[in-house]
Symmetry: C2
Subunit: 232 residues, 2 copies
């Protein structure tokens, strides 16, 4: 399948590399490809520059948000949560119409320092905002509750652990679940929470995720829901 990954950060790179490794044609979409490629300094998280990463992943092309969304059959949002609606607007509602949008972003708000809070939160979620702003796109929230290395290689975390999906379109959730299984997730570890409003629940996992990261001293952990999986 032709995938557009929106966002050039570590999550976008990790997802794009995995999609490519699985044989999918993959592009990364960004606001201004030339500007992205011109930056040579590491990003704020000490990752290599995007140009350096791209040199090692020559199967991936870097194009604009709009070009990438127009070309792709499915889209993955890995932009920073505070910039996601702007990025998707640049990608274009027409280019996104009818397509599955896997939304991995979290609406982290760093305006009051660390640890970040969430905005929106509690009575709304980024996933819902995106679905409302792009009603013809089939938004599925998933993978936003773990480190990106775990997203594409669940075996990094020993024992059973889970990934949540939220979305209003059953077929879109089925398509995302198949992608997750191809990433290495057992189908039994994919928990369908229901409609896109349930993204409130998964986005609100971020505050404890961040504190667990501090308490455990590493990011190779994940949530597991212990207990019988009676179907709804």
């Amino acid at each position: 399948m032709r995938y557009a990954v929106l966002g050039t950060g570590i999550v976008g790179r990790t997802i794009a590399a995995k999609l490519t490794a699985l044989g999918h044609e993959t592009v990364i979409g960004t606001r201004d490809p030339e500007a992205t490629l011109a930056r040579t300094e590491p990003d704020g998280y000490s990752n290599a520059s995007f140009a350096e990463w791209l040199a090692d992943h020559s199967a991936v092309r870097l194009i604009t948000f709009a070009e990438s969304a127009a070309w792709a059959e499915a889209v993955v949002n890995t932009t920073a949560g505070g910039a996601s609606l702007e990025a998707l607007t640049a990608a274009g509602a027409d280019n996104l119409a009818g397509k599955v949008l896997l939304d991995i972003a979290n609406p982290l708000d760093f305006s009051a320092g660390m640890p970040p809070s969430l905005n929106p939160v509690n009575t709304d979620s980024l996933g819902e905002r995106i679905q409302r702003a792009f009603p013809d796109t089939r938004v599925v929230k998933a993978l936003n509750t773990m480190n990106c290395e775990v997203m594409v290689d669940p075996s990094r975390v020993a024992g059973e652990h889970d990934v949540f999906v939220s979305g209003d379109d059953t077929n879109a959730k089925k398509q995302v679940t198949e992608l997750l299984v191809s990433f290495g997730w057992p189908a039994a570890s994919v928990i369908d929470l229901g409609g896109i409003t349930t993204a409130r629940g998964t986005e609100m996992l971020l505050p404890i995720w961040l504190r667990l990261w501090g308490a455990l001293g590493h990011a190779d952990f994940n949530f597991h829901i212990a207990g019988a999986r009676t179907s709804a």
Copy 2:
């Protein structure tokens, strides 16, 4: 130890019954004991009336918030989150001073219907509010992330699963951890997240807990953090 459980709902009853079974002298504190005992109808959740429950648990005494807090060596807050500060104020800062307060309440806000949202949330938490309002009390947030039957009998949920503790006082967290172990929690399943501000993280688990309850169709589940428990 002499325990005061504040709150006559199903959580308070379940905790009080367990404390009594473990040999602790236990009272339940409420605003108006006579009024509580006079109610004969089941509560909103179809539980038996408190008077009926008390008849089966004759070792437990029902007294006022203030009497219970004055008598007890340690206090457990199981009141509704929206009423907790009022209940604790009635219990009395002097009666609570120096004591460990295990806070199990969640600040669920039903004002906009179901599912409830949280208030406070995100940049504050009920646990923090209680600690700020009662600076001489040693507040430990714990057990608020699961059904009350699981709190006192973790074996109801198969496999490994965890309970989080948040609090500023190390000795208070140690005392609560010992209580949790006496409830049946393996010490390795007690995750110390850090100070009381980390209660934001555990209170914000409620939205996904509620949605998992819906998706799974039962409440005998719990969160497990998969991954190595490197100490902080």
